[in-house]
């Protein structure tokens, strides 16, 4: 007991010293408290107020994020006794997360079905704001404990969001599947973590001991542990083979929730994966578990499984779910370069994917609101009835496919060039396979993305005059995103120079 006393002051000053670097998260916590208090005080009718507070708060958080750039000019910072690592990429990721969650916070209410939820939306905002804290932690976590905690945090919030519409059978079913799958995955991951801890004797990934000690243990054992951990991360990233839950859950959840699930946790999980692999990949004597090989193989399989399975879908949300899986695979491609260039390509790609995917789901939501349709076959001829929304849909899908001139294309280009430049150095055949698969699946992606414009514009049908429950907000949101996608497509250096 005595041996810890001398350390206490050090530890405390460390914790206190970390707080200035932790301002955005503290603000989020405060925001969380504010929202929850509002929720409790004003009851279920407080949704609008909660939303306002949450959105305003997110803006502040974004400002706080921006301020952090100045703090890390001299390099990365370990916070709270190496629980977290704050560095440039993390801030960029946080900005992306905050920006997207800001959009999502705006968006939740515009879904007619979610809005009609009898129990009100104020709890939803509470959960979302809370989850943003989890996401921030996830991005910065470099300790096995903080990693696990952050993942659980986000998962828990996600379970709640998916099952949020408790009166809806689909939503609940999706929630059940999600929670069972998620909890099992996290159990598997925890077991992997426990093994890593056992073999390495520390939870701190960046302490320098971890990789060094693990390198001395039997590679098979270590590999097993890492595989189990990856399975857990894979659940969040939804890569093969941990992707099975994705379509069902995406379909079952309310559309804005799907938009949440398909972007935020995934993007944060990429940051987490980067943090997780970095100590191993950059440890010179690391042997045994070849991250590049495994992640490449997973990337290829994910691209194939996601894109090919999407071809057969006709439910728009399900289709976008599968395509999201495909995009994960593609982003993995950027990750396996393990270079700064690859990382910036990754962040750019993820941001563009996030924006486009939210817009796509928002538009799907729009049609769902307006016509009550979820199946792409029912989109027949609607392009003439809702021209702006349809054109936006096309633009967004172009970006998702990765055709010029859209931000999706430049993202793809950056990823390709990042991978290529590594390939040029080491001629790793896996990288080549990734490139080819990436190109090939782009064509396949067109197969299914094109169904939307095909039905919107090409198929003709007598227009059934129905009552239009127009949601202008959704159209405005997606139009803005679409315009942004095109502008970033033409002038990507507006953005990527910060990444």
């Amino acid at each position: 007991m005595k041996y810890l006393f001398p350390d206490i002051s050090n530890q405390l000053s460390n914790a206190l010293g970390s707080i200035p670097f932790f301002m955005p998260e503290i603000y989020i916590t405060v925001l969380f408290v504010l929202v929850i208090v509002t929720d409790l005080l004003f009851g279920k009718n407080s949704a609008r107020l909660c939303r306002t507070i949450a959105c305003a708060g997110m803006v502040v958080v974004i400002f706080k994020d921006l301020q952090q750039f100045e703090q890390i000019l001299s390099g990365g910072h370990f916070l709270f006794g190496s629980m977290l690592l704050l560095h440039r990429t993390a801030i960029v990721f946080k900005l992306i997360i905050d920006l997207l969650s800001f959009i999502l916070l705006l968006y939740f209410e515009w879904d007619h079905r979610l809005k009609a939820h009898k129990k009100g939306l104020s709890d939803l905002y509470t959960i979302v704001v809370g989850s943003v804290l989890g996401l921030h932690l996830m991005i910065m976590a470099v300790n096995l404990l903080s990693i696990y905690l952050a993942i659980e945090f986000v998962s828990l919030a996600s379970y709640l969001l998916v099952a949020y519409r408790s009166e809806n059978a689909f939503s609940t079913e999706a929630g059940l599947k999600y929670v069972l799958f998620g909890a099992a995955s996290s159990a598997v991951m925890l077991y992997g973590i426990s093994l890593l801890y056992g073999f390495g004797g520390t939870l701190d990934l960046f302490s320098g001991h971890m990789a060094e000690r693990l390198a001395q243990v039997n590679t098979m054992s270590v590999s097993f542990a890492i595989v189990l951990v990856l399975a857990g991360i894979g659940f969040k990233l939804s890569f093969v083979p941990a992707h099975f839950w994705v379509p069902d859950v995406y379909e079952g959840a309310a559309t804005p929730v799907t938009a949440y699930l398909s972007t935020l946790p995934k993007i944060a999980a990429f940051a987490l994966l980067v943090n997780f692999v970095t100590p191993f990949v950059f440890y010179d004597h690391w042997k045994g578990f070849d991250f590049r090989l495994v992640l490449s193989a997973i990337g290829i399989l994910t691209m194939i499984a996601g894109n090919f399975a999407a071809v057969l879908q006709s439910n728009v949300k399900r289709m976008l779910a599968y395509s999201g899986i495909g995009h994960t695979g593609f982003a993995l491609m950027a990750l396996v370069t393990f270079t700064p260039q690859g990382l910036s390509a990754l962040t750019y790609y993820l941001l563009m994917y996030g924006l486009a995917n939210i817009a796509a789901l928002a538009l799907a939501n729009y049609f769902e609101n307006a016509e009550g349709i979820t199946d792409v076959k029912d989109y027949k001829g609607l392009g003439f009835k809702y021209p702006l929304a349809s054109v936006c849909f096309v633009v967004v899908l172009i970006s998702l496919t990765g055709l010029p001139v859209s931000a999706g294309f430049t993202g793809k280009l950056f990823v390709f060039s990042a991978v290529y430049s590594i390939y040029q150095q080491n001629h790793d055949v896996w990288l080549l396979a990734l490139l080819i698969t990436g190109a090939l699946t782009t064509v396949v992606a067109l197969f299914y993305y094109i169904k939307v414009p095909l039905n919107l514009f090409l198929k003709r049908t007598e227009l059934i005059v129905s009552e239009n429950k127009w949601s202008y907000n959704l159209v405005i949101l997606s139009t803005m995103i679409a315009i942004a996608l095109i502008i970033f497509g033409i002038f990507p250096d507006l953005l990527i120079k910060y990444m």
């Binding site: 590999s223 083979p241 941990a242 099975f244 379509p247 090919f308 399975a309 071809v311 197969f447």
Partner: protein, 687 residues
């Protein structure tokens, strides 16, 4: 490139250009301004009149005087500069004159012949366009332009054959003509490309002049060498074959001759000009242009093919009943003569025959045109359902159409080659030289002149048959349809004048003062080095034998067709005097020769119809068949692969989707199984 030419020459060149361009101007005027007007005929006629006058002037200035070659930059491609220019030498001015002079009467004739046709103006547009192309063809100085006009001539022929485009047969015929001509064109084009590849120029003067590029190239060790270019010698043969294909298609040589008889679907005046006198002679002209290219063996092949064509066509002509078809086959036959003459080295004589043939064949066609026209009148007046071209319907027209009869007679005699006609001069020239050539080459080659002579007799026979059936005897129509009204005559001056003009041109004075000796024709001295072989006995024997036998054959024909009986004929002299043998010869004639010839004729005709045409049809069938296969491949294999890949995508997608059965435990199981199996596999592979 234009060196300072003397004023005189510049003028000559201008005349030549004007002669070529005038018909084109007429074409343009007719096309743009005289859509339906009857004036168009006269515009064309005047154009060709001026053109022919200018041509004659040019002819007199150039013939045996000089060679004029002017050229102007056309375009540059890569390192090659292409010029467009005209080359006026004896050959080209001869053709220039010939074409325009022949075209003139045909134009005049046409103004009358076509006057009731709805497409009158269109007809003259085409005709002028043809004249332009043909005239340009003969004066062009480079192969690529020669080829260009060569095709344009074919094109205008296509237009004219299909002039009555609402007739299915006409359209069929013009398509056939064009496609067969295209085969020849492709050959010619290939040849031109080969020559270009070999000599890097298209210039005819440079290529074919004495000591020109062709002359200075050699064939050595299987290589064709000229300058720095080495090509396997086979390409020299292919070039020759290509040119021959071009010649054969245009000049209707075996085996590409079948389009010509069908081409008679066009107006008769067109047949006269294009398919008898000018265009079909373009092949022979081309041979004349590129003559130095051919070597001994190739020439011999040419001779054999020409001879065979001549013989074959003549036998076919024996039994035809369609007036124009007989003439068409005779044209083929005569063209065969010319080609053969080229083959045996009788370059000049061949061209000589070309000229004479142009006149008399044109004359024959125009006469036939009148006959057909008149019969058509009868048909229309009496509402008969007959073929106006069938000679079986005719007969005894000599009194009704006296001028036509005389013209036909002159033309026919010239075709047979009887003395005093121009045909005699050129044809005997060919035969004599053929014999001399054969003697020179060896006895096996004797077959060629003999066959040619037989052809000559056959010619005599069918010409006699034609004239006798059409103009002698009784009108068969009257016997078939008694009581029909017949009001026919030679027609106005626009019919008569051309006939008279052409008839005059078919007689000997135009070509030689000595009606019996072909060697004295001025034409021959203007054309290349007529070397001739040693003065031989053939000079005398051949004309005599050939002509006498021709007369016999004609008489025989007379017996057959007018007296209707060979038995009768045997009583009237010649054969009767040698009684016993006479019988034998008669029988021989009857049983062997006539039957044989008839059978042969039937056979060759059958061969022509079934085998050669059949071959062409077969080619078409094969083409269509291949097209079918290609189309099938396209639909099922190439597209099939596309669909297959779509199916594969679906299959993989279906596989990936199979796991999505909605059971969360199954998902978990799949995931965990995948994790562990992959891990185990990896371990196994590691160790």
């Amino acid at each position: 490139m234009n060196k300072a030419l003397p004023y005189q020459d510049i003028q000559t060149v201008c005349f030549a250009i004007a002669a070529v361009v005038l018909p084109f101007a007429a074409f343009v005027i007719n096309f743009l301004f005289l859509g339906k007007s009857k004036l168009s005929g006269w515009v064309s006629t005047v154009a060709i009149l001026v053109s022919s006058i200018l041509s004659v002037i040019v002819f007199t200035r150039v013939w045996n005087v000089q060679q004029i070659h002017v050229k102007h930059l056309w375009f540059i491609i890569g390192d090659n500069t292409l010029y467009t220019g005209i080359l006026l030498n004896n050959l080209s001015v001869l053709m220039l004159g010939l074409v325009s002079v022949i075209a003139l009467p045909v134009h005049i004739y046409s103004t009358a012949y076509m006057k009731d046709d709805a497409g009158y103006s269109r007809y003259f547009q085409y005709l002028s366009f043809f004249c332009f192309s043909m005239l340009a063809l003969v004066v062009m100085d480079n192969l690529i332009l020669l080829y260009a006009f060569w095709e344009l001539v074919g094109f205008s022929s296509y237009l004219l054959i299909g002039f009555w485009f609402d007739r299915a047969t006409a359209v069929q015929a013009n398509k056939k003509a064009f496609i067969i001509n295209r085969i020849g064109d492709i050959g010619l084009l290939t040849a031109i490309i080969i020559l270009f590849n070999q000599y890097h120029t298209f210039d005819i003067a440079q290529l074919f002049k004495d000591g020109g590029l062709i002359a200075s190239s050699t064939i050595n060790n299987g290589l064709w060498i000229s300058g720095t270019t080495l090509t396997p010698v086979v390409w020299q043969y292919i070039a020759c074959i290509g040119i021959f294909l071009g010649v054969a298609a245009k000049s209707a040589q075996f085996p590409l001759h079948t389009w010509l008889p069908d081409a008679m679907e066009g107006p008769t005046s067109v047949s006269a000009l294009i398919h008898a006198a000018t265009m079909v002679a373009a092949g022979v002209f081309l041979l004349g242009r590129v003559y130095p290219l051919f070597n001994e063996a190739e020439l011999t092949t040419l001779a054999v093919i020409g001879c065979f064509t001549a013989f074959m066509a003549a036998t076919i002509a024996l039994t035809q009943n369609d007036l124009k078809r007989i003439l068409a086959y005779s044209t083929i036959s005569q063209l065969g003569y010319m080609v053969m003459a080229m083959g045996i080295g009788a370059y000049a004589t061949s061209l000589f025959h070309l000229v004479t043939h142009a006149f008399f064949k044109c004359l024959l066609f125009l006469s036939a045109g009148i006959v057909i026209h008149q019969i058509k009148h009868i048909k229309e007046d009496n509402h008969l359902n007959i073929d106006p071209q069938d000679i079986a319907n005719m007969g005894g027209l000599r009194k009704k159409l006296p001028l036509t009869f005389i013209a036909t007679l002159i033309g026919g005699l010239a075709l047979i080659g009887l003395p005093l006609t121009s045909g005699y001069l050129s044809k005997e020239g060919i035969l004599v030289q053929a014999f001399e050539w054969a003697e020179h080459k060896g006895s096996a080659y004797m077959l060629l002149p003999v066959l040619a002579s037989i052809t000559s007799w056959l010619t005599a026979f069918y010409v006699a048959r034609l004239i006798l059936k059409v103009f002698y005897g009784d009108m068969h129509l009257l016997t078939l349809h008694p009581g029909i009204k017949i009001h026919i005559g030679d027609g106005g001056w626009r019919y008569k004048l051309p006939l008279v003009l052409l008839s005059l041109c078919c007689l000997f004075p135009l070509f030689s003062l000595n009606p019996l000796s072909h060697t004295q024709s001025w034409l021959l001295y203007g054309l290349s080095s007529y070397k001739g072989y040693t003065e031989s006995i053939f000079e005398i024997i051949v004309p005599v034998v050939v002509n006498v036998l021709s007369l016999v054959v004609m008489y025989y024909a007379y017996i057959i067709y007018i007296k209707q009986s060979i038995w009768v004929s045997s009583q009237t002299g010649l054969l009767y005097r040698i009684s016993f043998n006479e019988w034998y010869i008669d029988r021989f004639y009857n049983c062997v020769v006539v039957k044989f010839v008839l059978a042969l004729s039937d056979m060759t005709f059958w061969f022509d119809r079934k085998v050669i045409d059949g071959f062409v049809n077969l080619l078409e069938k094969i083409g269509v068949f291949i097209a079918g296969i290609a189309s099938w491949c396209d639909r099922y294999i190439v597209d099939g692969i596309l669909h297959l890949s779509a199916a594969i995508v679906q299959a993989i997608g279906g596989f990936a989707r199979r796991f999505q059965n909605g059971k969360v435990q199954y998902y978990l199981f799949s995931m965990l199984l995948a994790v562990i199996v992959v891990f185990i596999l990896k371990i196994l592979i590691w160790n």
